[in-house]
Structure formats: C-alpha cells, structure tokens
Symmetry: C2
Subunit: 382 residues, 2 copies
C-alpha cells in the first residue's frame, strides 16, 4: 500500500472502517485525534499516548509558528523529534485560530493578515503558499489547506465568500505543497448550507483535476470545517450525511473540532473517518470525566466515599488503578494529578469508542452498536 492510499476495510451503511499509511505509521479509522496544540497534549506524555492507543496527534500551525517558531522545529528535525512523539501527526493550518480570534484577522484574496495579540502583538501575512511552506517546515504527516471559516449565525453572502476563498486557497495549497511524505487535505466549507457544501466539494475536486492534469498531486483527504462553530447541535446532522455522500469514497473524511462522544458515533454513522477535539483534556483538567453513565463531575461531594472505579465499564489504567474517591480528592485539592488522570481516561474513552465503532463496522454490526449507544445513558451527554 503506498503512502496515504486509502484502503476501505469494511463499510456498514455509510459507516466506514479504513486504513492508510503515513510516514510515521499506519492508522485505522474511525479514529479520534488527541489535540497537542503547542506540541504537547496537555498533561499527557508520549508514553501515555502510546499506552492509550492514540494513532494521530494534532498540533496547530498558527501556535507553533508563533512559538517555538519554525526555525526551532527545523533545527530539531521537525515537530516529532521536538516533542519526542514518533507516531503520525497532523497540523491544522491555523485558519480556524485566525477565524476564532476574528478581531485579529484581515482576509484578502492573497491570504490573511493578522496580528498575534495572544503572543507578542507582531503582525504577519500568510498566503496559502506561505502556509504550506510553514507546515512543511513543521513536518507533520498530514497537513491541512489554509481555509477561512465563518461562525454561526452568519449571512449567506459571508458564508459564500469564505467558502469560495477556501476552495481557491485549497487549489493554491495543492499547487504549492511539495513534501511527498506529507498528506495534504483540502477542507470543505459552506456553513449550514448544503448547496454551498456540495459546491465546495465540486470545486475542490475540479481543482485537483486541474492539478493532476498539470502533473501535480491530488488531495490525500478532506477536512469538513465550519461545523461546531456555535450552531444548534442538530443543524450539523441535517447536512452532514449528504456532505459525506458527496465526498470521494477513496479519501479519508475528517470532521474538524468535533469531540463529543455521541456526536462522534452519529458522525461515524454519516460516513466520517476522523475527529479531533480539545474536549477530553479540557474537561479532564476541569475535573470532569466521560463515562458509560454520562459525564461525571468529580468535584461533586457524592464521590467523597465512593471507592469504586471511575467507570466500571472502562478498561483504561486509570479505571483499573484509581478510585472515584481518590480522583475527587485530587480534583478538590487542585492537584495536577487529577487533571492528568482524568485527561488520560477521557482520551482513552474516545479512542476506545472509535475502536469499538471500527470493530462493529468490521463485523457488520454497526447498526446494533449505534442503537445500543443511542439507548445508553452516555448518549444524553452533549
């Protein structure tokens, strides 16, 4: 199997189990990617990432560009060496960060001007080509095109403009990206408008056809951006199945920034392969755990004398070794170990949920898995 070539191991309804190779190892979908924005998954060592079965770790181009800077990453031999994580990695382009810090952003046809007010206030301009060069320097295994994303609600005209800009930037990224050991993913935008989403997909495919005709490359996969930006939860599912159906079968589909367990299960049913979200580590640091009975807030006094495991249905080492009473004590005391262990459990929980989904798809029993999930107490956990 050549690098990034998608093997479809099984399909069950729209849900898919796939495998592809990266320069740092093989990955199997559906999968969840722990987020290591600043070249570290907060509170989690690479040893623990291996233990819990993380397949791809995500980092962020905007943040790494600001600190430590691509010069430092290049000196180190790339982001993997820098952070001592030797498995597959993905960098988001930073487009979302520039959008979510909207006051800093001035997008134009030729790229985006921004002021890094969350760092040193310095001013920068990125063309799509600059962004590709930066991601090549960072050196992840999968890089995302530079895109523009609008929030919700938004005027249709504004969504149209950013969607068009995104596919144009996608084509420029496709033309300028050089590293053959890196996959490049285009990003489907279009907000909550199905017609714009479908047009986005058509335009990205037309761009890759042009690039292929010119002897260039195609996209190795596609992100689905612009969801989970403040809209009501159900709104995404009104369009997501049709969006997935219109996307190429032979490339991985990555729903960006989505991390709620039930949303993952439903999106897998719609045909999504990959996910990322800060939710498991962020909520873990705040003392909250995912569990088979729904979300648990460990600062709750009812756990003071509860010496049972965090989640009796979970096989992670935190659930094997620590009690609710101890985890509550750590959370109550503000001890670092509380956030560390809950982050580890929460990551395992989502990684394992996707492993279970994969096993069900391979067995042809995804429907039963889905129904069982949706009937479980954990499904109410949005």
């Amino acid at each position: 199997m050549s690098l990034f070539e998608l093997q479809i191991d099984a399909q069950d309804g729209a849900a898919r189990a796939t495998t592809f190779e990266t320069a740092h190892g093989t990955v199997q979908t559906p999968l969840f990617m722990p987020v290591g924005t600043h070249a570290t998954v907060k509170g989690i060592t690479p040893e623990v990432l291996a233990e819990i079965g993380a397949q791809i770790v995500l980092a962020n181009t905007y943040h790494l560009y600001m600190r430590p800077g691509t010069d430092v990453l290049q000196e180190a031999g790339g982001v993997h060496e820098f952070m001592n994580y030797h498995g597959p990695m993905l960098t988001d382009s930073g487009g979302f960060q520039l959008f979510s810090l909207e006051h800093m952003m001035k997008p134009g046809d030729d790229g985006v001007s921004f002021q890094a007010r969350d760092y040193d206030g310095s001013k920068h301009h990125w063309t799509p080509e600059d962004n590709m060069r930066i991601q090549e320097e960072i050196g992840a295994d999968i890089v995302m095109q530079l895109d523009q994303c609008v929030g919700y609600p938004a005027e249709r005209a504004s969504v149209e403009a950013s969607t068009k800009l995104s596919w144009e930037w996608g084509e420029r990224c496709l033309r300028s990206h050089q590293r053959e050991d890196q996959a490049l993913f285009g990003i489907v935008q279009g907000g909550m408008h199905l017609d714009l989403r479908l047009e986005s997909i058509r335009q990205l495919r037309a761009a890759e056809d042009r690039n292929l005709a010119a002897g260039g490359r195609r996209f190795d996969g596609f992100g689905i951006g612009g969801y989970s930006v403040g809209e009501p939860h159900e709104l995404m599912f009104e369009t997501l199945p049709a969006v997935c159906e219109a996307m190429p079968q032979d490339r991985p589909r990555y729903l960006m920034g989505v991390g709620n367990p039930t949303t993952l299960v439903r999106a897998v049913a719609a045909g999504v392969d990959m996910f990322d979200c800060v939710l498991p580590t962020r909520t873990g640091r705040m003392g909250t755990a995912f569990s088979s009975t729904g979300r648990m807030n460990l600062s709750n006094a009812k756990y003071t004398h509860d010496h049972g495991p965090l989640d009796s249905q979970c096989s992670c080492s935190v659930c094997q070794n620590y009690s609710r009473a101890y985890l509550r004590h750590l959370v109550k005391q503000g001890e670092m170990l509380g956030g560390i262990l809950l982050s580890q459990h929460n990551l395992f929980y989502l990684l394992n949920l996707m492993r279970q989904a994969r096993a069900a798809i391979l067995e042809g029993s995804f429907d039963a898995f889905y129904e069982e999930w949706m009937a479980s107490p954990a499904a109410n956990d949005y």
Copy 2:
C-alpha cells in the same frame, strides 16, 4: 532481618550505607524521599515513582486529616491503596505544619489546639495520643512523633520549652503507638543549640528505656527536626555532625525538610541517612532543573535553540528523550508537561545522587565522591 531492624552495610567516615525492611518493602540509605503531601507527589504518577527509583514517599498527617479525612483513608484500606502507591510510605506528624502556620497554633502541655484556616476554619485539638491514632489510621509504614518546632531566630527559652515539650510528647507517642507494622520515629529538636540537641537525644533515649522496661517498644528511628527553618546555611553544619554522633548507631537518622543537593551530600558526610523536601517538585513546576552544572532556569531565552539534553550527565528518561529547547518551550507556554518532566528529572537527580553516595560508601570511596562533588559546579547551587 526483622521489620525496621537497621543493617549497617558499610560506614565510611561518619557516612553510612544502611538497609531496613518495612511492611511495604526494603529500603536502602542514604535516600531521598519524594514529598506527596496530599497523597500525591505533584504531577508524578506511581509508575514514574517506580521508574525513577523512589524508595519511600512522604505524606502529611495534618493535610490528610483535613482532606480527605481518615475515614476516607480507612475505607480505602489505608493511604497506599487510596493513592495506588504500594511501596514504603512515611507520614510526618503535622507538627511542622502547625508550627509553620504559627498563628493557628496554641500548644499546651496536653497537645496542640489549632484552627485549620487553610481548609474550612474548623477547630481541632490533638494530644500526642490523638496524633498516633490518626497516623495509625492513615497507615504509612513509618510515622513520626508529634513534635513542636520553633523558627529561627528564636529566644533560647522558647527553644528550650519546645524541645522539652517535644521529648515529652515523644514519650507519650511511644507509649500509645500500637501498630506493629509501623515504625515510629522520635524527633530530635533543640534549634541551633548543641547542648539542647544532645539533651533532646538523651531524653528520647531515656524515654525509650523506660518504655522498654515497661514491656513497650523503642523508637525505630529518629528524625532531626528544627533545621532549615530560616537559619543561615552554615549554622546547621556547626552542630549536625555532633548531633549525628550522639544519635544511636543502630537506628536510621532522618534530616527533615532538607533537599538541596549540596546539603544532602554534606549531611550524608555528617552521618544522616534519610531526607525529604518539596524542592525538586516545587522548583520543577517553576521551570527550574537541577543539573551537573548547577541549577538551570528553563525560562531563560538562551535555551530557545539549545537542542541538547537537559543534563548530559544524567541518565533519567527526561534527559534521554527531551531537549532543553522543548522543555523551555513547555515552560514558556505554561504547559503542564513542563512541570511534570522537570519534577521527574529533579526527583531522579536527588534519588540518583543518594544512590551514588551509597555506592561510594559501599566502595569505601565516599571521601573522593564528596571532594568531587564539592569541586563541581553543582556544589555552588544552594
């Protein structure tokens, strides 16, 4: 070898290498004890404690009594089970905490009254007997007598009074302590006054003679308290060698709250066997690392492009796997992993220093080890 019986493996000058058994395993001295005040060594998992070779973990009676409370610890089957650490543990009596929060403390002949203003403001009274019962409930392998400690500088009369109170409380602890699987250590006080220190030792020994004559137990070891309370560094070394010399040969000697590398080396030379201090984890969380060239502040810009190991002389996994540039990046970003990894390295550094001291004593080359240390750049690190 019966429980807590001290085997002197070698002596080199006043420096000793010893071995003793606890109910949770064998320990070898000289040794440094990582501090886990609230039943967690900050940011460090039990797996890492095993990896770095921690022999005894210290917890604190006052803090555990306040939270989670001894009821919770007893339900869990003791502090080891509660925190999932199955090696030897020691609890300090809490006397030092009540002293260091002096405004809260009202010592009297019958014990100490205090208000837990750092928790819920509740009022408590501990007799020495209460303190023993609490430490039995917590369930560490080594417990310390309740003592009273004064700061520096202090009126001689005040040091005299607290020293006398401490040996009286020591005798009451000796009489009331019941658990045969727990070692009980007396605590030598006396401030900076050698005559008071020697009197403290005589009185503690007289107390144990009386207790033995009554069919009771002796102390299984002795703490040396009341140093490192604000006095100039050299002042301790004016009396420490004579204090050690006057202490029983056949019991471990534990210099409480001391954790500076050079102080450890010098105190081993004076005849001390055991140490504890929050320094390695506290400074680690603040971005500072011990090293063979002295203390390093990783927030210093000079490490930005320094891709070498933290300490090229150190064999710990942090120094094997991470660069100064990465650790600086983590510290600069305020990432949890920075504090975690620097704490781990700093603990390894002190644990390893004591392993090296032990090896030198066993070889009869402690003088050379000592001279080499004192001539090294690390020796200036106070």
